[in-house]
Every structure is written in C-alpha cells, then in structure tokens.
Amino acid sequence: MATRKTAAKSNVSTDELLSYYRDMLLIRRFEEKAGQLYGMGLIGGFCHLYIGQEAVVVGLEAAAEEGDKRITSYRDHGHMLACGMDPNGVMAELTGREGGYSKGKGGSMHMFSKEKHFYGGHGIVGAQVPLGAGLAFADKYKENGRVTFTYFGDGAANQGQVYEAFNMAALWKLPVIFVIENNQYAMGTAQKRSTSTEEIHKRGEPFGIPGELVDGMNVLAVKDAGDKAVAHCREGKGPYILEIKTYRYRGHSMSDPAKYRTREEVQKMREERDPIEQVRGMLLKAEVGEDKLKEIDKEIKEIVNASADFSKESPEPALEELWTDIYADEIPQEVN
C-alpha cells in the first residue's frame, strides 16, 4: 500500500469513534464465530469472511443517511451487519435455517433486506454493479435525493459489465458510488497478475467519473471519502468512484490453501494496520478507559453468541418452502 490518505478529521468525537469501534468489532467477532461454526460443520459450502476489511463498510455507512441503498458481492456479512440487519437472521442464513434472511434458501452469498435497503449479496462476480446503477436510476427518477453504494472487488473490476454500468451511470448522471474494495487479491490471483493498471480508481476517467484512492484500514479516512462522494452524488453531479485499499486476513473462502501470499505479509498487515486496533488506540488516547472497551467487547460477544444459538435452534425450512418464491403465483410442477 504505497499511496495513502491520512485521516483528515481530527475533530471526530469520542462517541463517533466508539460507534465505529463497536460496529467494526461486531463484524470481526461475528465473522470469527461464523468461521468456528463452519469448522464445526454447521455452515456448509461457501462462506467468505470480511475480517480485515471492516473499516470500509463501517466508514461508508457512517456517511450514509436513511434511505440510501447498498448492494454488494458474496462477501456480504459485514455490509449487512453495518447497515443494521439482525445478526441472528444473517447467521441463520449461513446455517441454512428458516430464521435466515432468505429462509435458508440463499445461503451466505444471497441475502436481502428491504427494510435496510440492502439489495443483496450476489454470487456472480460483477453482477451487482449494473444493478447498483439501476437502483440509482430509480432514486433519480423518484427525485428523492438518495444515493446507492455499489460495492465490488478488485477482481470484479475486470468484468465488462462494470464498464457498461460506468458509461450508463455517467451518461445519465446517476447518484451511485462505485466502491471498489481493493483487498489486492481475487481469490488466488494478485491484482498485478490480472489487472493492466494498478490504479483502478482512474478507470472512471474516460467516462468522466471522478475517482480517488482511499486508505481502507483507516475508518476515518473512509468516512471522509464517503462524505465527499455522497455530497457529489446528492448535488446531482453523477457517479463517483472510491477505490478503497484494504486487506482480507482470512482465505478467499473457507477452503483456501493460501499459497499465493506469505504468512508474513498477512501478519504484518494485522500488526501494523489493523483498523480496529487503530481506533482502539485513538479511544485510549482520548481517555476512554479500558473498562468501557471491555464493556463493548462483552456486549458484542453476547450479540454474537446469541446469533450462533439462534442459528442452531432455528429449524431447517420445510421442504415445501423450496417451491415458494420462484414466481409470484405458484406454478404446479411435477415432483419426482
């Protein structure tokens, strides 16, 4: 991470810091728990953890207002927790239970909440990007002043449909913020092996979309950048690109042999750049006592444990449930 924006805001309040700390910690502990449940066989299949990237979504949610929308990829647990979705419903979807956000039918990668304006986790790389532009189109059409945060990865930034979406968003001046969560790897492929230019935020330039590079390990820098992008969109100036440099500590998904990077690289990032530790340091400096932080830790632990309990106790969906929600009307079909 060569280029980096320093945290600009020195006037951040202790309460704000505390809320960032809390929200990031919730994601971290939730994901750790999901990893444990996976290890115990309670979660099966695909499960992409967000550990290390917490500051991205927490910083941007701090820049959002009620009614703003968000849409992302399969690495979606953090986004859901940060926008206020219920940890119980998220964890129960991971275990494939009726109490999950998609009644167990979607799994880790596919959850939604109309109430929280969360338009999903999407398993197909890049597919959510034009959808995000479409959501922003609808906001503009309704003239409601809302913006859409459209998240995708550095790897997804090579999908052709991303650039179709860029062109349309710029052409129609849509209030969409394209958030590139650049964790520097797409599965086992480092960015430089797949991407012709290092600076993905500049890929909007030919379309007339401004973009900037943001330090994604620093929640304050992310919040600042988010404020700027949101203001740009709300002023009717069209889309904005934020390339947020971040890092995932865990494997791509749960079955990742991790042979494509060194353990030292990961260790160094954790020790020197951890987003939660950075805020923790600021809080201690602001004379928030260890006690207060311990209290938050405890509160988070309880929420996460409760979600794990719920995700085990909630029953599997009834078999008939598999035939619901395919069409508005049920279409009778042969079952063999």
Partner: protein, 337 residues
C-alpha cells in the same frame, strides 16, 4: 496402471496434449500461478511456461471471446471457466461466435476450442455454484457437449475434445473430482484410489466423442444417465434389486443413440436420470428420441428423474439432490406397468 483422481487425470490430459502440440494453450481464472481452484492445471505454468498456461482476469466474456479468435487463427485454446455457473457472461460468445463460425464462413474458419467447466451440485454450493447447464449447450447447433464420470474417461475424453476440430464444452462433475459419489451423503466417501475406474493409462489415449458406455448390463430396464448420476444410478440399482442396464452417455452431443435404443428395445423399460432441472432438460430430448425408436418395444412410459424446477437451494440439499431413493422409486414404477 497408475491410479488418479479425476483432477489428476484431467491435469494429465493437459500435459499430454501440451507436450504433443505446441498450439495447445491453457487459460482461465487462477489456472496459471495458482494452478486452478480445483488444481486441474497445477504445475502447468511451471512446466510449459507462462506463455502457454496463464491467468486471465475475471472476464468470462473476454475469455471465451479471445479464445474464439485464437482458435479461428489455428491455436487450440483449452479454457477453464471456474464453475459452469460463471459461464453466462461468456455464453454469448459461445452461442453467437464459437458455435457458428464454421457455418457462417462456409467452413473456412473453425473454432477448435475446449471450454472446461466444473458442473453439478452436492457440495453445498447453493444457486450460483451447483448448476447443471448442459441443456443450454446441447440446444446450440455447433457445440459438442461432454460429461465424463470417471478419471479414465475424463482423460480420454478430454484428449479427444482437444483434438476435435470443433468447439467442445467439457463439463466436469465436481462432486466426482475426488471420488465416485453415489448420493449417500451420510456414508464415508470412497476415493478414486480405491475404485477400479481410478486406474488411468499413462500417456496418450482417446475415448471417442459420441460413444456411450454400458456400465452395468441388465435385462429388466434401462437407466440412461451421465456424470455424477452414473454412480447414483448404480447404487440405486443395487438397492432396488432389479436387473437394470445402466448406460453412461459420456457425450451428450454427439449422442450414441444406437447403444441406448438397442438396450431399451431389449429391456422395454427406461428411466432417464440427470441432476439438471427437469423442464426442457436433456432428459426430455432423450425421452423423445427413445420413444421414437423403441415405441413398439416399450412396456411402460419412459420416466425422468431430475432436479426439481427450482433454483438450487442452500438448505435441504440432500432432498433436492436426485439421490438413490428417488431413482429407485422411478425404477419400481416403470417395473409395475
């Protein structure tokens, strides 16, 4: 004979083809440096160099499209689409370009390209990692479609596909990569090293496209299937205690109709089995062809056992998956009439 997993057999086919023909190149997401998410291309970049085995961006449309161009020129691209479920962004290039180049140019240009993709469910992959889209390919004139069920077949069929002058879709049942899977998810899995079909000949050999294999001979009914379901079928037949002939198609297009109809005309009863969803699935094509050729020999209507017509669910996968119990029920039904 050496024993291999299906992964190793596929990798071996790549090595044999690349050694024999410098125009064979291998590309796809994570296939080079990393060796493929399922390891089917492990070590190829090291052995053959980065010019011949390389990583692509996550750009399926671009991957297939550049492949068509390379093939039109005369190279032999062997492409990996990481999961069949990720093929849709590249589907336009397969249908509109790859499949039709020969026809459109009156034979002057061709597309000798292989597109490999892991297919099928049984791995808790939910709706974007479990699909069986073979009918989307067999429906397109100009594409050939292959689905192996054993390591030995995978290698021989892949070598035949690479040698083929036309575009071949090579669907690898990912549930079979490490061992045969009979649908009994609660029983310990058998590795290929303990299965006779894990024996794979060294060096070059091919299994011709369009030649089915009778996996089990029988007289009472015929079970026509392919891919993972071959192993499910064998388990179901044992459990049902009926003397069923089991046919593994190996290639869906071209189709070895002769072997199928000879069997059905002999047994008079037929069940068609696939993992893919029922409606407009490949089983419908099979049932239509079989009734046409075997109408006067049939003792009972042909039955299809297939995936339910829903998106592939995350929960209840073992009910959703057309396992031995469902196959057995269908066999018992065709035997009743």
């Amino acid at each position: 004979m050496p024993r291999m997993t299906m992964i190793e057999a596929i990798r071996d086919a790549h090595v044999v083809a690349m050694e024999a023909d410098p125009d064979v190149i291998v590309m796809g997401e994570d296939v080079g440096y990393f060796g493929g998410v399922f390891r089917c291309t492990a070590g190829l970049q090291k052995q053959f160099g980065v010019a011949r085995c390389f990583d692509t961006p996550i750009s399926e449309l671009g991957i297939v499209g550049t492949g068509v161009g390379m093939a039109a020129y005369g190279l032999k691209p062997v492409i990996e689409i990481q999961f069949a479920d990720y093929m849709y962004p590249g589907y336009d290039q397969l249908v509109s370009e790859a499949a039709r180049l020969r026809y459109r140019s009156a034979g002057e240009f061709t597309c000798p390209m292989v597109v490999r993709m892991p297919t099928g469910g049984g791995i808790f992959g939910a709706q974007t990692h479990s699909q069986s889209p073979e009918a989307l390919f067999t429906h397109v004139a100009g594409l050939k479609t292959v689905v192996p069920s054993t390591p030995a077949d995978a290698k021989g069929l892949l070598l035949a596909a690479i040698a083929d002058p036309d575009p071949v879709i090579f669907l690898e049942p990912k549930r079979l990569y490490n061992g045969p899977y009979d649908g009994h998810h609660d029983r310990p899995s058998v590795p290929w090293s303990k299965h006779p079909d894990g024996e794979v000949e060294a060096g070059h050999y091919t299994i011709p496209l369009g030649k089915a294999r009778i996996v089990r001979e029988g007289t009472d009914a015929t079970l026509v299937t392919y891919g993972t379901m071959v192993h499910v079928a064998l388990a179901a037949v044992e459990e049902a205690g009926i003397d069923v002939e089991v046919i593994d198609l190996r290639t869906l297009l071209p189709l070895d109709l002769e072997t199928i109809t000879a069997s059905v005309c002999k047994t008079g009863r037929c069940v068609v089995l696939h993992e893919a969803t029922l409606t407009s699935g490949y089983g419908a094509e099979l049932a239509a062809l079989i009734q046409q050729d075997c109408f006067y020999s049939l003792e009972a209507p042909i039955l299809r056992v297939a995936g339910w017509d829903t998106p592939y669910p995350h929960a209840q996968e073992w009910d959703y998956f057309p396992g031995p119990a469902r196959v057995r029920r269908a066999l018992e039904t065709v035997m009743k009439d």
